[in-house]
Symmetry: C2
Subunit: 213 residues, 2 copies
DNA sequence: TGCTAGAATGACTGTTCGGTCAGTGGAGTG
DNA sequence: CACTCCACTGACCGAACAGTCATTCTAGCA
């Protein structure tokens, strides 16, 4: 509400915060939360350790800020692409495409993301709720697309959440494998494979009844 | 080669090792490698910390032993179920079923497993190769089943490895979600959903050409 | 029962790392 | 130029923890 004009100091502070976040993403991505040290982040950012504490009160807080920044951007991009898709099949493709390319652009964020997902499973995530919501957020647009398609009879009457999560899981696995093998190749083939597999899997009629002997 | 009869001491030692492994699984599963402490494992096992070092030379080594034990068992069970399946569709169902039930029985192992997979992505896994192989091992039987089905024309000519990994990924996600929500309900519905989705997705004819407008 | 080997113990050590704060230097001001 | 202010620094502190080892306990034997 109070519309203060950003002073020079504010701008400098914002810049510093951004630089710290980028450094933190590199260090956290390369080492995970526990193995990452504040000294390493400081060195990466080219400042003294104490300086970080002028901008973030704790290791956890800079971690959270780093993760949240990436998550917000990823969600924004994914949703935009999915919602711009002209039809359900394209929506699936768009979902996979958006995430693969974002993760490929920021592999350090992807590493943080993967670790965070596994921390949730353990139950010691940073505020257990925080990231659960993120997964649901990331999945929501796709889920809605599938829901609508089901309503229009373009796909089987499946649980849209389960189907969306399946795409989510496969995509995550794909990105992980591409990152590991250092795949620089175009991801189009992989994305098409996933899209085909799921789209075919969701078709109304065929296949589902093949439970012989 | 040297067939020594197991002495009483050997038996006691084996028992002790087993107890330590079970305690370690609980602690590592609940905390992850870094957060887990040798003191906690010792307490869980009801021995003094020094005792652990009589059986395992380091924290890393007891971790590795714990993880390897679970992995070997999981692989054995999965392969057995998949190979016993009478047809490809059942093979997929068997794969998912075997893993869901094993993970459900040993949630602590599942937590270690998930963390280990994410460590690989970071690149600082325990012997980077160690677990890569595990994923391939776990996937191999299913992959072969899909391969054969493709050869017989029962499914589309897909990349069997990619298809198997897709099932792998979805299954992992399913287990994670069930663990999180504390789902005690029968997993049959979920397993059927995955099986239907993938089996339909692999069908020879239909679906794949739905790229309108 | 007394003796002994070696299993088990847990206090201790060295190190690592998150977080602190007294001190410094340089930009802004009059 | 002198003075002030504060962003920045990095040596330091205390806690946590892997791993050690001198000591204690105990099972098995004579």
């Amino acid at each position: 509400m109070t519309a203060v004009k950003p002073s020079k100091d504010d701008v400098v502070a914002a810049y510093r915060r951004g630089a710290l976040l980028a450094a933190a993403r590199g260090v956290f991505g390369a080492n995970g939360f526990e193995q990452a040290t504040m000294d390493a982040i400081a060195e990466e950012a080219g400042v003294a350790k104490g300086t970080i504490y002028l901008y973030y009160p704790s290791k956890q807080s800079i971690y959270d800020a780093t993760f949240a920044a990436g998550t917000a951007e990823l969600t924004r991009l994914t949703d935009a692409q999915v919602e711009a898709a002209p039809n359900p099949r394209s929506a699936i493709a768009a979902f996979v495409q958006a995430r693969v390319s974002y993760f490929q652009e920021f592999p350090d964020y992807f590493r943080m993301y993967v670790i965070e997902l596994s921390r949730i499973v353990i139950g010691l995530g940073p505020r257990q709720g925080g990231c659960r919501v993120a997964v649901e957020d990331h999945t929501r647009a796709l889920q809605r697309a599938i829901e609508q398609a089901a309503a229009r009879g373009e796909v089987r009457a499946v649980d849209p959440a389960a189907a969306a999560l399946a795409v989510f899981d496969i995509t995550r696995g794909l990105v992980a494998r591409r990152l590991l093998t250092g795949a620089k190749s175009d991801a189009t083939r992989d994305i098409d494979f996933i899209t085909d597999l799921i789209w075919a899997g969701l078709q109304p009629v065929s296949g589902a009844q093949g439970h012989p002997a």
